[in-house]
Each structure stands twice: as C-alpha cells, then as structure tokens.
Amino acid sequence: MMREIVRRLLATIPVMGVVAIAVFALLHVTPGDPAVIIAGDYATSDDIARVRTKLGLDKPFVTQVGIWLGGIVRGDLGASIYSGLPVTTLIKQRAEATISLTLLAMLISIFVGVPVGVLAAWRRGSWIDRGVMVFAVSGFSMPTFWLGFVLVYVFAISAHWLPVQGFQPVERGLWPFLRHLILPAITLSVVYMALIARMTRASMLGVLSEDYVRTAFAKGLSPRRVLLRHALKNASLPVVTIIGIGFALLIGGAVVTESVFALPGLGRLTVDAIVRRDYPVIQGVILIVSGVYVGINLVVDVLYVVLDPRIKY
C-alpha cells in the first residue's frame, strides 16, 4: 500500500510541472506585449521599460521559464508590482479567510449532502426523493453571488440576525468568527452540496439493489445499520471522487463569495490584482490554488486504496 501511495505522489510531479509552465505561459500567449499591458494605459515608455526589467521580460523565454521554475522550487514566487511585497507573504496573509470559508463550506456540504442523498436513494420515487432531485438540479444552477445577496438581504438586512459582511479571525473568539462566516459558507456550499447529494443518491441506488443489501435487511438489521454500514461504505468511492473533483467548484465559488461578503481572502487578492494588472500575484495565487487542488485529489486517490484494497494502479 505504501508503494502505491508513493507512486501516486510521484505522479503529481509532472502535473504540477505542467501547471507551473502553463501559469507562466499565460502571460505570453495572450496577444500584445505583456510589459505594455501590465504597465497600464497611462504608462510612459520609462514605466514600461521598468516593468520589463523587473519581471525579467527582456530575457530569452527559456531563461524566464528557468528563473520562474527555480523560484518555485525555492518557495519564491516573486514580488507584487503594486506593493513590492513578496507574493508568498501576501498569500499567507490572505489564506486564513479562504481556508476557513472553504473548509466550513465543505463540512456543511458533506454533512448535509451525503445523508440527504442516502435518504433519497432509500426512499426512491417518494416525495423526499423528488425534493432532493429538484434541490440538486436547482442548487447546481444557482449563481453563487446572487444567492449570497439574497441570503444577506433576508438574514442580515431584513432580520438583523447576522452581520452583512466582514471577517473576524478565529483568535477573537469562536462565536464572532462563526457569525461572520456562516452566511458565506452556506452560500458557497449550495452548489457543492447539490453535486454531492446527487452523486450519493446515484451511487447508493446502484448498491441498494445488490444481494448483500437484501440479505442484510432479511436478517433483520435496522435500516440505519444496513444503509450506513453495508450500503454507504460500498457506495462511497464515487462520492469521495466527486468531493475531490468538485473542490474546483468550491474554489471558483470562493472567489465570488469573498467579493460579496467582503472577506479578505485569496479571491479578493486575485480580483484586486487583476484590476491593478499585478501579474506576479495572479500567477502566484493560481499556482498555489492549483497545487491545493492537485493535493486534495492525491488524498482522494490515497483514500481509494484505503477504502477499497482491491484497487491497484
């Protein structure tokens, strides 16, 4: 088993290599001179020249790629053009809000999505099942930021139960932290929850018609025990996969959700960087986020081996 895990780990290296080169190449595949674009509309030729030397755009392309990859290996992602601070520092400052938001949203999605999917599959064709399917399709089609505004309007502006926006670090107490985070997390979780519920239902439907499930019911086990121990455990592989793949949705949604709720996270950092054409910051965030995505899917692959010892790569 250890060997499989190491093999999976090594397989992520070429993927991350492609990500790193693609993120770098972005700057060069778009039409126009990157130095002119980054310097902005009102730049003088001096400004453009300064940007060009600062980003090393005057060097040959292969040298630039080498410098970029070398920096990544040493943990150096360059410096922001706007503030001059190292990109890694900026990312560290903003990581807490984003990690809190996505983790909470992920927990809500899994703890609601999976049971709801199991219930729908168990009571197939009933009104519960129909309700879950309607939720799954409409939740998946929901524009995240619009849902955020609707929730803010109902729970914060009309009812005054929760703050409209902002973020409180967890050091200042768990309650203020959660109070500020609950609406954004619910907003962000809906799409992901819909995806998980739908996948759980589909996977459970396949398993519930198996002989061993009928046997388990026949020998008088409680439905709860049969559903969770016998059925869900065997239906869990596709659900775990979708949790990993769907993480990309969560990150995309986080960018928009942070903007709605004014959370000081990586999404806001990116959007601000785009307005300022602060390209090193944009590249750094994309690289880190893609790295996290690859890492999560690596964990999913490892979980596969743990959940189902028959799987060999």
């Binding site: 990500v19 972005l26 399709v137 929901m142 619009w146 505004f149 928009v256 995505y293």
Partner: protein
C-alpha cells in the same frame, strides 16, 4: 393466413399512431421526457425575450435619468431603476442577449476545437500519453481563475470573454472525446473499415465522429450553462463584459453597492440568470436520458 391477419392487426395500431395529431404526439413526448420539455419551453421563452427585447415595452437600456434614480418597482419601472436612473427591466431584458451569445458561442467553439484535438490525440497512441499529462495539468487550474487571468491581459469585450471561457473548456472536451475514441478504436467496425483500406482521417470522420454525437450534444448543453454562469461571474468581478453593454453580471455588479437601498437591481437579473442556467441544465439532463448517454 393467420400470419397475414396478424400482420394486418399489427398495422392497425401503426396507422392509428400516425393519425395522432401533432398536439397528441407532443403531449406523449412531454409525458415521457418532462425535464427536457420543461427546460426547452423555459429556454424558448428566454430566447424569445432576448431576441425580441425591443418589443417587450422596454426603453433605452442605457438612458440615464438622474431624477428617477433608485426607484422601487412601479408601473413605470417594472423592475425599479438603478443608481443612474436607468430602467432595470430594460437592462435585464437586453442582458439576455449577452448571456445567450456567450453561452452558445463558448459551447460551439470549445466543442469544435476540443473534438478535433480529441480525435487526433485519442487515435495516436504516441502523443496520447504526453498530451493527457498536459491536459491533467491544465484541468488542475480552476476554470474561473484561468478565465480571470486571461481577462486581466485582454481588453474587456464580449469577444474576449468568449475566448477566456473557451480555453478552460477545451481540455475537458478533449478528455470526453478521447475516452470514447479509445474504446471505439478497438471496435470491429473500425477493424472492418481498415481491412477495406480506409485511411485514418476517413475512419475518424465517418466511423468514430458519428458515434460521439450524442455524448457531445449533452456535453455542449452543460458547457453552455456553465459559460453563462461564468460570464456573469467575470462581469460581476469587473473583468468581463464592459459596463456600456448591459449584461446580468455587470447589472448586479453595479447594484452591489446598493444592496440595502435597492435590492431589486440585483434580484431581477439574478432570477433571469438562475432560470436560464436551470433551463439549460434541465435540457442537458433530459437529453442525457433521451439519448441514453452513459
């Protein structure tokens, strides 16, 4: 004799089936494919709304009337007015056009490019391994971030939004096409065609492409739905459709500062956006069941 009678008997229901009126046939189709028909009807209404936007008692979506700013929904402004006194109803209806153009163009273009590349990559084993590693890498970059980064380097225009949304979709189409090509490559019909002397391009276009039509149509609907959502996200974040063209995303972006005062600026375009995406996803689910994909 008995056989011919049975044959006659078999013909009777057949003729009565053709005698069914168009309305009856549609009703039967709708009963069997409720999601497809529901999605199709809603989508048709939205498309008509967008194409005939000037006909639905709309005014100039860009006309500013500072006296009438931030007015709640009323008989003169059905969806209220925004911070420049522009009519939200007119802007929302005109915004339909941007969304539909972006959704359709992104779906069509990424499908064409992705299919062409997927056919070639899937068929030649030598480039397959390398290209799939590259695709894995590209797909590890969250689509919205990739599109945002591309928009940062391009001027805000509908055409550039379409380009920025096509690029993240292409590897996903390639993957679907490639998976089907890999299984079809070993099919007996391909072996037969080879034995008859057919060359690779002919096999790809005449034997493999037709078998891909159904999954690709379903894929196209999902791409269309997500492209419409992403256009709204980009415009909402200020990196999409330029402000002088009303689109659902940038109407809501401008309403962002007035959530507490004028919630209607955000409410109505959002309802249209959610309904459109839902309708397209329903069409996708319906087509998947009808065409029996996967």
């Amino acid at each position: 004799m008995a056989a011919s009678i049975r044959a006659l008997g078999a013909e009777v229901p057949a003729t009565s089936a053709t005698a069914l009126s168009a309305g009856d046939r549609f009703r039967r189709f709708a009963r069997r494919n409720p999601t497809l028909v529901l999605g199709g009807v809603v989508m048709a209404l939205i498309a008509i709304t967008g194409i005939l936007a000037p006909a639905w008692w709309t005014g100039d979506p860009l006309a500013m009337r500072p006296v009438e700013r931030l007015q709640p929904p009323s008989p003169t402004h059905w969806f209220g007015s925004d911070n420049f006194g522009r009519d939200v109803y007119s802007r929302t209806l005109y915004g339909t056009r941007v969304s539909l153009v972006v959704g359709a163009s992104v779906a069509l273009a990424s499908l064409i490019v992705g299919t062409a590349l997927g056919l070639v990559i899937g068929f030649y084993r030598r480039i397959d391994t390398v290209m799939m590693r590259v695709m894995d890498g590209l797909m590890a970059i969250p689509a919205i971030l990739l599109a945002l980064a591309l928009m940062a380097l391009m001027k805000g225009s509908v055409r550039n939004v379409i380009i920025a949304l096509i690029i993240p979709e292409i590897p996903r189409v390639i993957r679907v096409v490639r998976a089907s090509v890999l299984s079809l490559r070993e099919h007996t019909m391909v072996e037969g065609a080879r034995a008859l002397g057919a060359r690779t391009p002919r096999i790809l276009l005449r034997y493999i492409l037709p078998a891909l039509t159904a999954p690709l149509i379903v894929q196209a609907t999902y791409i269309c739905a997500s492209a419409i959502l992403f256009e709204a996200y980009l415009s909402f974040l200020g990196a999409g459709t330029p402000p002088h063209i009303p689109s659902w995303g940038n109407i809501m972006a401008e309403g962002k500062a007035y959530v507490q005062l004028a919630f209607w600026i955000i409410l109505f375009p959002g309802v249209f956006l959610a309904l459109t995406v839902l309708a397209i996803n329903l069409i996708g689910d319906g087509l998947r069941d009808l065409l029996d994909v996967r």
